[in-house]
């Protein structure tokens, strides 16, 4: 049962990732990325990481992708019409480069595949919100507070960059 669920979610994730890359419409790409993230949250549930599955849906599919869609619709970006209408050497080069990277990862995985651990039995009690919060507020308290500073700095920096008035009359 778990195996079939994993195959379904994996095919969904890979298919939506591919559809995101080859889609000409930017809004459709963003929605396919949302689908990819939701199926990835399901895979996190298979791995007994309940807290991260919820966070993935809330933060990625909820917050970040809404921000992306907001910017896409704010800028009114048109379709990328001439994406695949003519043959380019660049596409082949990119494909072979990426396949080279994937082959390298798979080669290094194949070397250690008999040493990889089996899934731990006490995992059902580890991925919960309670366990994550317990570690987060004791052992990782300082990085957690630094994350707050980082987010504040990001918000202030984004406001500074996006509000900056460009003086166009200067060099005319």
């Amino acid at each position: 049962m778990i195996v079939y669920l994993f195959i379904l979610l994996a095919v969904l994730a890979v298919g939506s990732a591919l559809a995101m890359v080859i889609n000409k419409n930017v809004v459709n790409s963003a929605l396919f990325l949302v689908l990819n993230m939701v199926s990835l949250a399901g895979i996190f549930l298979i791995l007994n990481a309940q807290f991260l599955a919820v966070i993935q849906v809330l933060v990625y599919a909820g917050a970040i992708m809404v921000l992306f869609l907001f910017v896409i619709m704010l800028l009114n970006v048109g379709d990328e019409e001439k994406l695949f209408d003519k043959f380019r050497v660049k596409y082949f080069l990119a494909f072979f480069l990426a396949v080279g990277v994937m082959g390298q990862i798979f080669y290094s995985l194949a070397g250690v595949t008999d040493m990889l651990p089996a899934i731990s039995e006490n995992m059902a009690a580890i991925g919960t919100v309670e366990a994550a919060g317990d570690v987060l507020y004791t052992k990782y308290l300082l990085p957690f507070e630094l994350t707050a500073i980082l987010l504040t700095a990001a918000v202030v920096g984004a406001l500074m960059i996006a509000q900056h008035k460009i003086k166009r009359t200067e060099n005319i």
Partner: protein
């Protein structure tokens, strides 16, 4: 039960799709989304290792990676908006201020 190598293989495939997207697309927003896809692939690899070791530290690292990804998305989209206001395009082949 699904073995760990399947999760790592899925992570590698998604990372590769992200690389292809970054290399062939020319819309800056789509390139940015492909980078998010690559971040997600690495997150999956971290979570699978954490689950199979029975240790929560990897999941905490994924949590911090999520926070950093959120900050990065905010700043990156602000930069894209600033570029768009400057020359009315998000096509990276038309942005050539730093190109010689």
């Amino acid at each position: 039960m699904v073995g760990i190598d399947w999760f790592l293989g899925l992570s590698a495939i998604m990372f590769t799709i992200g690389i292809i997207g970054v290399l062939i697309r020319r819309n800056a927003i789509v390139i940015f989304m492909c980078v998010e896809l690559m971040l997600n692939a690495v997150n999956l690899s971290l979570v699978s290792f954490a689950s199979h070791h029975g240790n929560i530290d990897g999941q905490i690292l994924v949590f911090f990676a999520l926070a950093v990804a959120a900050a990065e998305a905010v700043v990156g989209l602000a930069i894209i908006i600033a570029i768009f206001r400057n020359n009315l395009s998000v096509d990276v082949s038309k942005i050539n201020l730093l190109r010689w």
